[in-house]
């Protein structure tokens, strides 16, 4: 089952790359995504029941934390693959495109290559979430960078090339630092007998954590945090994120923000787990809290007055990664809130990025200042965009309200309850800044030069609608098995 989760997207991707026809690839993508989601659900069920599957001598052995991110990646990929049907059809129809930024003309990459790399991207993310081996996790996180770089460069114009280059260099160098973190981790455990037949490195590190050399372990965590933090978009290492998210096709931005950032977070969480087991949890928690607040403040600075709505969503991802770091850093109920936040953020951000693609297709501009009257020109997208704003800003009754409240509760119960003041203040600033841009776009009159049609393809609004409904339901009612699963995942990292 675990091997199938890797082979399914890899083989589908290879078939697309070598034999695929555009139309066939477009149909095969959601079919493969559905099969992957069903397999992921089966793995999640096994882990929930306590029969966690293992494969390849323990290289694949997911735990509740990994399975949670696997399910998220799988579900978001399914939503994106359905959205891709109308998106790719429209891209094919247009043929020769004009870059909005410099008005240069460009063509897209061949569609079969794009869909193939989407499959490889899914495979590498699946490996990240399923392996307890820190080295394999590193290799697969680097593989996510390499498989997603061609996706960011789907529109072959200067701006996307610039974004792709920044993404490649910053993330590769960052991940190289994480590799150094892995080496330092091995130095910290040097001398402890390692079973060579078993690759469950994480269990070994956790069970021998009390014997690890503290100085090297602390150094290892710093490098893991900085390295994977660059990939996760924690400020001040976030520079690639707004560029890549704004220049990638919207469905790729949705996956980058909703699924990829979680994979990088998982790398940091593994380090935090080991630090907690070694009795050094206070140090890693303090670092996470520092980066959390720094990210929150950076996002607040850049979102205020931000005209580019895709960059605004990207900075919102920086904000939410900061919130996750904060919640995990404070531990206890805040940690449970952070895990719940990861779920709700992924669903909401994927929804918003898909909608941003609809807006871009209709208005042909990135500037929120040039967009008016969405409620008249595209009523479905306009309504969902407004709902998505309320969700991402943490308003009731959406799931993010609950998770942000839990994090606040955790901060108030901590040794430094006064930190709840800057936390709430920054969230308030972000709420106002986001509302100004989003409501400006939705309200107002229909622009005179816009076509009268309000028609929107079903596959472009259905996935965001379902994602939005899921976040709404999670805000009102969390099924007991899901909460129990989230709690199990949070327990691994001090929740």
């Amino acid at each position: 089952m675990l091997i199938a989760l890797l082979l399914l997207p890899v083989l589908t991707g290879l078939c697309m790359l070598f034999f695929g026809k555009a139309l066939l690839c477009r149909v095969a993508l959601p079919v493969m995504a559905l099969a992957h989601t069903l397999l992921s659900a089966l793995v999640a069920l096994s882990v929930y029941q306590g029969n966690a599957p293992r494969a390849l001598f323990g290289i694949l052995a997911p735990d509740p934390l990994g399975v949670l991110f696997l399910m998220l990646a799988s579900l978001l990929f399914l939503a994106v693959s359905v959205y891709a049907i109308s998106y790719l059809r429209e891209e094919e129809r247009i043929g020769l495109h004009t870059n909005i930024l410099d008005h240069g003309q460009f063509t897209n990459q061949p569609e079969r290559r794009f869909t193939a790399f989407l499959c490889f991207f899914l495979a590498s993310m699946s490996l990240v979430t399923m392996t307890p081996h820190m080295g394999v996790q590193w290799v697969s996180i680097e593989a996510t960078t390499l498989s997603s770089a061609p996706l960011i460069y789907f529109h072959r114009h200067k701006s996307s090339l610039e974004a792709t280059w920044k993404y490649l260099i910053i993330c590769s160098v960052g991940i190289a630092l994480a590799l150094l973190g892995n080496i330092l981790l091995s130095v910290a455990f040097y001398g402890e007998p390692v079973g060579e037949s078993d690759f469950d490195q994480l269990s070994f590190f956790l069970s021998h954590a009390d014997k690890a050399e503290a100085t090297w372990l602390k150094a290892a965590f710093v490098f893991l945090l900085v390295g994977y933090g660059a990939k996760m978009g924690l400020a001040p290492l976030h520079n690639w994120l707004p560029d890549a998210h704004s220049q990638a096709p919207s469905l790729v931005s949705a996956l980058l923000s909703g699924a990829l950032l979680n994979c990088a977070l998982l790398g940091i969480l593994r380090g935090h787990q080991i630090m907690l087991a070694a009795g050094l949890g206070d140090i890693s928690s303090q670092m996470l809290i520092f980066f959390g607040f720094f990210s929150l403040a950076t996002a607040a600075i850049f979102i205020v007055g931000q005209g580019h709505y895709k960059r605004m969503l990207a900075y919102s991802s920086v904000e939410h990664m900061g919130l996750l770091a904060l919640g995990i850093g404070f531990g206890g109920i805040a940690c449970q809130g952070a895990i719940f936040h990861a779920v709700c953020h992924s669903l909401t951000k994927c929804m918003l990025f898909l909608l941003s693609g609809n807006i871009l297709a209709r208005y042909h501009t990135y500037s929120s200042f040039d967009i008016r009257g969405m409620r008249w020109t595209m009523p479905f997208t306009g309504a969902l965009w407004t709902a998505g704003f309320f969700a991402i800003a943490g308003s009731p009754p959406f799931g993010l309200f609950v998770s942000e409240l839990l994090i606040a509760k955790g901060i108030l119960a901590s040794k430094a309850p006064w930190l709840a003041v800057p936390y709430l203040l920054l969230l308030a600033i972000l709420f106002v800044a986001l509302s100004v841009a989003v409501l400006r776009m939705v309200q107002g009159r229909r622009p005179i030069d816009m076509p009268k049609t309000t028609k929107e393809p079903l596959t472009s609004v259905l996935p965001p609608l379902i994602l939005g409904l899921a976040v709404l339901v999670l805000g009102v009612f969390v099924p007991a098995p899901l909460w129990s699963f989230l709690s199990k995942a949070a327990q691994l990292i001090g929740g």
């Binding site: 930024l101 680097e142 090339l161 920044k166 590769s172 190289a176 590799l179 060579e196 220049q247």
Partner: protein, 205 residues
């Protein structure tokens, strides 16, 4: 003796990399580093990895860089001389810091041979200096490779027979990364008529 000579040559190659403004020369020194790493692996007794590192870091990766350079105009393959001088000074500071740090860290004696840790850290610093200090896209790739060589060096004493498969996966990853970066450099050259990353100004807040 051979072991120490390899370490010395690696250190020299780092400073040659920082001192030269010519990208073709830098590629040669990168290949030299790959060969020296392979030799060190042989001395550690890792035969399979020796072959793999020699093939990938000593031949294929520099070959990829050569191939990329062939398509670029010759004048784009020279960095400003002033930057090179400044980079050497930074490299010296990096070396001094690495020796100072090595002296203070508590390391199990049998794990790192003398000066091994300092050299690994210096190589890593030199890689970062090349990435931050130079403005050509291809020097970013060379810097990434050098930094990765430093990390590889630090990991060398920890390698066992059981970890060979992982090291091979790592090498494959680095190879693909440089391959993708090579393609990107060619596209940058075609689109911007230069590989100067200082021209990347369209995406700002």
């Amino acid at each position: 003796m051979l072991f120490d000579s390899c370490l010395f040559l690696l250190l020299v190659s780092n400073f040659l990399l920082l001192a030269t403004p010519h990208i073709r020369q830098m590629t040669k020194y990168t290949a030299l580093q790959g060969i020296l790493l392979a030799l060190l692996l042989l001395l550690f007794g890792h035969t399979i990895l020796t072959v793999a590192v020699l093939l990938i870091k000593g031949i294929l990766l520099p070959g990829l860089l050569w191939h990329t350079q062939k398509r670029l105009p010759p004048d784009s393959l020279i960095c400003p001389r002033k930057l090179a001088a400044f980079d050497v000074v930074c490299g010296m500071a990096g070396l001094a810091f690495a020796i100072w740090l090595d002296d203070r860290l508590i390391v199990t004696q049998e794990l790192f041979p003398p000066l091994f840790l300092s050299l690994g850290l210096t190589t890593l610093f030199c890689g970062f200096i090349l990435i931050i200090g130079r403005i050509k896209a291809i020097t970013h790739v060379i810097g990434y490779l050098v930094a990765e060589n430093g990390i590889f060096l630090l990991g060398m004493p920890l390698m066992t027979k059981g970890t060979t498969w992982f090291e091979l996966a790592l090498l494959l990853d680095v190879f693909v990364a440089v391959f993708v970066m090579g393609i990107a450099i060619n596209r940058i050259s075609d689109s911007f008529a230069s590989i100067d990353v200082a021209r990347f100004r369209s995406l700002r807040d």
